[in-house]
Amino acid sequence: MADVAQMPGAWQQLKLIGGLRWHILRNGLRRNNNRWDLIGMIWAGFFSAVLVLSLCFVFYEGTYVFLVKNRPQWIALLFWGLFVWWQVFPIFAAGFGANFEFKKLLRFPLSMRAFYLLGLGYGLADFAALSSIAWIISMLAGAMAARSSVLPALLVVSALFVLLNVTMERLVGSWVEKILAKRRTRELFFGLFILSMVSLNFLSPMMQRYGRSAKPRIFEIIPYLWWTPGSLTGNAVAGAAHGDLRGFLPGLAGLLVWIVITSGFLWSRFRAQYFGEELGESGAPKAAKRRALRGGDSSELPRFISPQVAAVMAKEFRYLTRNGFAFITFLLPPIMVIFFSMQFAGKNSVLREHGLSAEMFFPALMAYLILILLSPAYNSFAFEGKGIHTYFMTPVRFRDVLLGKNLLLAALVVLELSVSVAVMIWRVGWPSPAMFVSTVAAVAFAVVGQLSIANWSSLMFPKKMEIGKVKGQRNSGIAVWTAFGAQIAIGGICAVILLAGKWTGNPWLPAIAFAGLTAAAVGGYTAALGAMDRLAEKKRELLIETLCR
């Protein structure tokens, strides 16, 4: 028989959870990494505070000016900004990891009401919510300074606006959480997120081309948005400022309707969670339809490649196709060629007559692509996880593992560069034959030269990364600096040699020089592979401990 005499009240429960969060923070500081993270957070907090305070002034001044100049309807713009910020920022932040799943608290005897309130409470503790509240307070201060008679109405409307936003943000957040809980949807979500971020790059050229004609259309749409929270709030404030109840009350009623609807949906979502909704991957997935095992390993590779190297290549290829981020890394180069050509080169470039010629654009583009494509090689064991054991348990030399990884990467680089060159020729045109051959030879030198250093970096500074996660997914600091240094050194050598062709007046000189350098780099790479074998043995424990953590 349980000894629990009575259920703790909602306030007691909130207090307990506050204490729990404090203990989690305090105990987390026992680890050095967490202390550094805290220092980082304090810095980030400082800069965020500066940003929030600066915008406080904007919101204060905006409200003040709109009321003094008797244009209270324009306050809707400020509420619109707040609404978009409050709803959109947490979605982006969610992708970078929630630190604490408050649903875990459900193992304790929480009442549904306390659970709901806690959910809202967490919503109010978000950065978006805190900053928005700070800006709303600034608006209240602006209203008080400009026309204090508006203040009571603005206070009521703002309170409803806050309640609506926090409820809606939690509702959207709970759906985002549901989506992100599944591996496949999470990867899809992040893929779309990255692509949408990349596509933002195209906004500037699009605006320059279509901006003027699109402007009137946008203004035509605005009146149809009267039912949205930002507009309703603005209309209510404008009604109050004009002493017009027929303007104020519909706005207020509209907000209340929004609150009732979103609260109903949120209650329903939280209720599902409260009664044990399972979001994560199922421990025992639904039985797949039994089918005959299909024979044949699809990873047919040339006979001169050893079975071990071929197996590593096949495994790396499968990992690539199942890693949304890595996959996108390989989708990006041709897209970026189009973007750069729109900006810096070709007949439709933003710079037009000042744009780069194909002669300059080609080597610059290749350098950029090598920079992107070779970066993962500096932490090539990042996604192995516990699978790293297999390399040490099986009778395989690490040189074969690294060779398999490098060969696949080199093949992908060749494919990527070929596609990018085709896109570049379509967008910008051909460079001279001498520049084309010299740059291709420079690429060969840069790839082989970097792979030797990257292999060393992968063994010396491994850092675990997880597919489908964004938070904490970064290489070790030293690996980043190693990659940076190697890229600068090799890029510098290539640039000097390419320019030497111009200085000496011999356009084929760089091609000859790069051919020699590539041969030397291949020799160095082959010799280094043996050394990597020994290094891997030395770093065995570090690799296993770091990647299996």
Partner: protein
């Protein structure tokens, strides 16, 4: 003369000031089903990691099937199969892809790898999850896959770290029968588990490690004869009694629930 499958001499592993394995002299004859026991933190996993090449010893030497591990690690690894503590699976491969990968890493030709992978998946009742990623397998299914991968190349020594944990009774029964047949064919099985009943049922020989030191080694009969204390119901000491008497904990010391009066 009996072939020695595992032989260690003063095998030692230190982690800073902590000596996890202390001058261990272990000998396992080929074809034995060998149980390696010890309380939590005794050094079992450290020992198995050293014997399988996942951890370098600080001192001492080890030979597997007469081959010095330090000198010919690749040769030794060809002869052994391992189910390590964390299973060591590549989670982003499907079950069949992982078995193909491991088979090829052991140097099996493509046809043999394919045939064995399919047979093993059928045997482990994983064939209907052919296309499921390892990450989406349940814990028990992952364990079965790790076992399949450990035997795909036909090892002469099999190291198993808690192999039955999370495996359903049906598969566990089939596995035990398979392991029994393997030892009949001369395969050595080195098993660590906390479930003493499994060791008692399957193993012919047992070693007990405590605080990094090997404190007992021999056949079950030898251990029964040498261990102090009372006998079990059938007039024979159980492995649990032997284990507790050797690691210095009596049942009375272990069960202190009488003190938790508010629970009972």
């Amino acid at each position: 003369m009996q072939e020695i499958a595992i032989h260690t001499e003063k095998l030692t592993r230190r982690f800073g000031a902590l000596t996890a394995v202390d001058e261990m002299d272990l000998q396992v004859v080929a074809g034995q089903f060998f149980g390696f026991l010890g309380p939590n933190g005794a050094g079992k996993s450290t020992t198995i990691k050293m014997l399988t090449g996942l951890l370098a010893p600080t001192a001492g030497r080890m030979e597997l099937l007469g081959v010095d591990f330090a000198v010919h690690p690749v040769e030794v690894k060809r002869q052994i199969g391992v189910v390590p503590e964390g299973m060591g699976l590549f989670e982003r491969l499907t079950g069949v892809e992982y078995l193909r990968f491991v088979g090829r890493m052991y140097g099996l030709d493509r046809g043999t790898t394919e045939r064995r992978a399919q047979e093993l998946l059928e045997f482990m009742q994983l064939a209907d999850r052919e296309k499921t990623l390892v990450a989406d397998y349940s814990h028990g299914m992952q364990k079965k896959l790790a076992l399949a991968a450990a035997v795909i190349h036909g090892p002469r020594i099999l190291f198993l770290d808690e192999p039955f944990e999370g495996v359903d009774a049906l598969a566990a029964g089939a596995l035990k029968a398979l392991l029994g047949r393997m030892t009949e064919r001369g395969v050595t099985i080195f098993l660590t588990t906390h479930v003493l009943e499994i060791v008692e049922r399957l193993c012919s020989h047992v070693a007990i490690i405590h605080k990094g030191k090997l404190v007992a080694q021999g056949s079950l009969e030898e251990l029964r004869a040498g261990a102090p204390g009372s006998e079990g119901e059938e007039g024979q000491k159980t492995l649990e009694q032997i284990f507790l008497s050797i690691v210095g904990q009596s049942i009375g010391e272990r069960t202190r629930f009488e003190e938790l009066t508010w629970l009972t």
